[in-house]
């Protein structure tokens, strides 16, 4: 079972910026224990572009999270046998990233 694990930051109350060494160590563990599929931190929401080509011509605009207080700061994809395992890892991940974590299953 694959889960998308989103790291959610809050512009008005951001998590601390010194987490990278701890996150790297956590990633090493995820790899060693077979949960790791993918991980990536994301650039600021200012750097995002939305393309809408459902109409006559493609329209470009800023990302949907530019104005919002909470935004996606990074993602993981984990392989875990069930939600209990994923939630246990996410509980640790929240502490390690100093941010909220959303766990969402892939279809």
């Amino acid at each position: 079972m694959r889960y998308l694990v989103s790291v959610i930051d809050d512009k008005s109350n951001p998590g601390s910026t010194d987490r990278q060494p701890a996150i790297s160590a956590f990633n090493e563990r995820l790899i060693a224990e077979g949960y790791w599929v993918f991980a990536g931190g994301l650039a600021d929401t200012d750097a995002a572009t939305v393309i809408d080509n459902r109409g006559e011509q493609a329209v470009f605009s800023d990302g949907p999270f530019v104005e919002s207080k909470e935004y996606l700061a990074g993602v993981w994809v984990w392989e875990a046998p069930d939600l209990d395992v994923a939630l246990k890892l996410a509980t640790e991940a929240s502490k390690i990233c100093d941010r909220k974590i959303e766990v969402r299953p892939f279809l």
Binding site: M1, D82, L83, P105
Partner: protein
């Protein structure tokens, strides 16, 4: 066998077998939806057939077999309709029937899945009442004053989440068990409390069907986890609280406070059972097991139900238990209840000082103002007492409690 006997047999089978049937089908087919629907169909078939054919010698086995057949029929129907769906549904467990103890485990699995921490509290309550207790959707909707369609949707969404996110169908590991059991007990205590003192003005003030359901479910968990002290504690707490129900609302529909209750009307059998459980936990505590909050609350209720009246109550014991509870649980509501015991032991003035300190956290809670009102009355501060009663009446939702507070206020000189 006449119709009344058959109807009673069906009711009894529903109480005793519903959870077992749903639980074993969920394990076999890996799908709560199929299990729930097939169990409901099996009971509907029993209602049709048993009056004519007679009650089968083993109703549980009959219901499980019938429900299994219904589930397989449904899966076959869906297979014909939708081949992709078939692949998702066919991963069910085809093991031979398990011995009785493993089937009991299925009910535990079902309970832990319905009370999973990834589900919202109100969803856990609804799902537990539907899947484990076997209440119908209209019954659950009525219990929590929501529209039937909204309740149906809540349960449907919960089942979809369990499936899509793969919430596991198993008993948690020993390491996770205490936290998960405490999550289950919170669900049951919430159901019980809503029955014991309904929060809203639009229902009966005390709803026996909900307290009875909570006690029945807690007994089931007690049977499945006999070693768990908090399960025993919660059951004792519920029994000792329920025992006072007959004396709790007057003929005029007014809540009767502990000091005015007719203790002769308390249910002696429930008290005896509750006291037995409390003694069992006291013995365990003496042997070194640290009691949790439900065990301590049960012990407090055992002190009350052992006393002939308010004056005969061992208030120093009550206070010592509250002190123990405060160390485990820093909730202001516990502190408020402790202050009520302080009033009996050290007098209303000391108690009032303790209550006033809770103002920042409890200003919106009716019981805070009701407690203050009573203490101010006892101190002869009528004007302030009246204001506190006014505020308590404004905030209270329960009709019997509002009636009680109104009378106390109007008795002030």
């Amino acid at each position: 066998m006449n119709d009344v006997d058959v109807r009673e047999a069906i009711t009894r089978a529903h109480h005793e077998e519903w959870a077992r049937v749903v639980a074993s089908l969920t394990r076999r087919f890996g799908d709560l939806d199929i299990a729930e629907e097939a169990a409901a169909e099996a009971f509907a078939t029993a209602v049709q057939r048993w009056p004519a054919d007679g009650v089968p010698p083993n109703p549980g086995a009959w219901l499980t077999t019938t429900a299994n057949r219904q589930a397989i029929d449904r899966i076959r129907r869906e297979n014909k309709r939708d081949d992709k769906h078939r692949k998702a549904q066919m991963s069910y467990d085809d093991d031979p029937p398990e011995p009785a103890s493993a089937i009991d485990d299925d009910r535990l699995r079902l309970i832990f899945t319905c009370c999973h921490p990834a589900l919202a509290m109100e969803t856990r309550v609804a799902l537990t009442l539907r899947m484990v207790a076997g209440l119908t959707m209209p019954e659950i909707a009525r219990a929590f004053l929501v529209a039937e369609s909204a309740m149906g949707q809540r349960i449907t969404r919960a089942k979809a989440k369990i499936k899509a996110a793969r919430i596991p169908y198993r008993v948690p590991s020993a390491e996770d068990l205490p936290a998960r059991v405490s999550g289950v007990l919170a669900v049951l205590y919430l159901v019980f409390n809503e029955g014991y003192l309904a929060t809203g003005p639009d229902t009966d003030p005390v709803r026996h069907e909900l307290t009875a359901e909570a006690i029945r479910l807690t007994r089931l968990i007690r049977a499945l986890l006999p070693q768990d002290g908090e399960v025993a504690g919660l059951l004792a707490l519920m029994l000792l609280t329920e025992a006072r129900r007959p004396a709790r609302v007057s003929a005029g529909g007014e809540l009767v406070a502990l000091d005015e209750q007719d203790r002769g009307a308390w249910d002696a059998a429930l008290i005896a059972e509750g006291h037995r459980l409390v003694r069992e936990r006291l013995a365990a505590a003496a042997a070194g097991a640290a009691p949790g909050r439900y065990q301590i609350l049960a012990a407090i209720n055992a002190v009350h139900t052992s006393a002939r009246d308010m004056r005969d109550t061992d208030w120093s014991q009550v206070l010592a238990l509250y002190d123990q509870l405060v160390r485990l649980d820093s909730s202001p509501i516990i502190a408020l209840n402790r202050a009520i015991a302080v009033a009996e032991f050290d007098g209303p003035e000391v108690a009032l000082a303790a209550v006033d300190r809770l103002e920042p956290r409890l200003a919106g809670y009716h019981a805070y103002h009701a407690t203050r009102a009573d203490l101010l009355r006892r101190l002869g501060r009528g004007r302030e007492s009246r204001a506190a009663y006014d505020r308590a009446i404004e905030l209270a939702g329960n009709t019997a409690e509002t009636a009680y507070l109104t009378r106390r206020r109007d008795q002030l000189r």
